[in-house]
């Protein structure tokens, strides 16, 4: 049973465009929603995270939008750059030991 569903599986965007990746979760007890970025040959690294008491968080070109009632959250990358080409994972966890439940990942390619 996949607790966090992520789409699309892959995404191609032109340089300067907006990349949008969506995630949906099932467990309403989740209280922390991070996005991780992974480059080839590297481990995932935290990109941006949100808690359910806010509907949006922005850091530079990266924005998380959070819809608690729909149990969905999304990552928006504005002005996408070739250097953003990577695999992106959404995740969720609830209190306690910070066990992260990950989505299946989205491979983003930004073409020049």
């Amino acid at each position: 049973q996949q607790q966090v569903k992520q789409s699309p599986q892959s995404l191609i965007v032109q340089k300067g465009g907006i990349s949008i990746i969506n995630c949906a979760y099932e467990n309403t007890a989740f209280d922390y929603f991070p996005w991780y970025q992974q480059f080839p040959g590297k481990g995932p690294a935290l990109l941006i995270a949100i808690r359910p008491d806010v509907s949006e968080k922005k850091e530079g070109r990266f924005t998380i939008s959070f819809n608690k009632s729909a149990k969905q959250f999304s990552l928006h990358i504005m002005d996408s750059q070739p250097g953003d080409s990577a695999t992106y994972f959404c995740a969720a966890s609830r209190g306690g030991y910070n066990k992260l439940i990950f989505g299946a990942g989205t491979r983003l390619a930004v073409h020049p």
């Binding site: 992520q6 599986q9 922390y32 991070p34 040959g41 590297k42 481990g43 995932p44 690294a45 935290l46 995270a49 994972f89 966890s93 209190g95 306690g96 030991y97 910070n98 066990k99 992260l100 439940i101 990950f102 989505g103 299946a104 990942g105």
Partner: protein
């Protein structure tokens, strides 16, 4: 610079072998995790540890065990390696859940079982 170090980047083992994957963190984190990463499945939690000698099963613990004798070191053990355990294994550490719950990952160990 915080660091999670996995002892091997690549491993090739034979079916039935006992395999040890080692992970060391230098951030004095209480929590440590082992995930496996497979295409189309994302990262799945195998085991985690919240203190020395403490461990709990994750979502896919079958065929694996773990050891945490020191706070900085967390080992994943494949008791009898099988071909379906061919995968990328990622170790991570994090502080206890709170305002800053960032998990830091190692670079991964790509294990091939032949």
């Amino acid at each position: 610079d915080v660091k999670v170090t996995q002892s091997s980047r690549y491993l090739v083992k034979r079916t039935g072998e006992k395999v040890f994957l080692e992970c060391v963190q230098d951030m004095d984190h209480e929590n440590m995790f082992w995930y496996r990463q497979d295409p189309g499945l994302g990262l799945r939690l195998i085991y985690f540890s919240y203190d020395v000698k403490m461990k709990e099963k994750g979502d896919i613990p079958e065929g694996y065990s773990v050891s945490r004798e020191k706070k900085e070191r967390f080992s994943l053990i494949l008791e009898s390696a099988s071909t379906n355990q061919t995968s990328m294994y990622l170790c991570a550490s994090s502080p206890p859940a709170g305002s800053n719950t960032e998990a830091f990952f190692g670079q991964g160990t790509r294990l091939t079982v032949v």
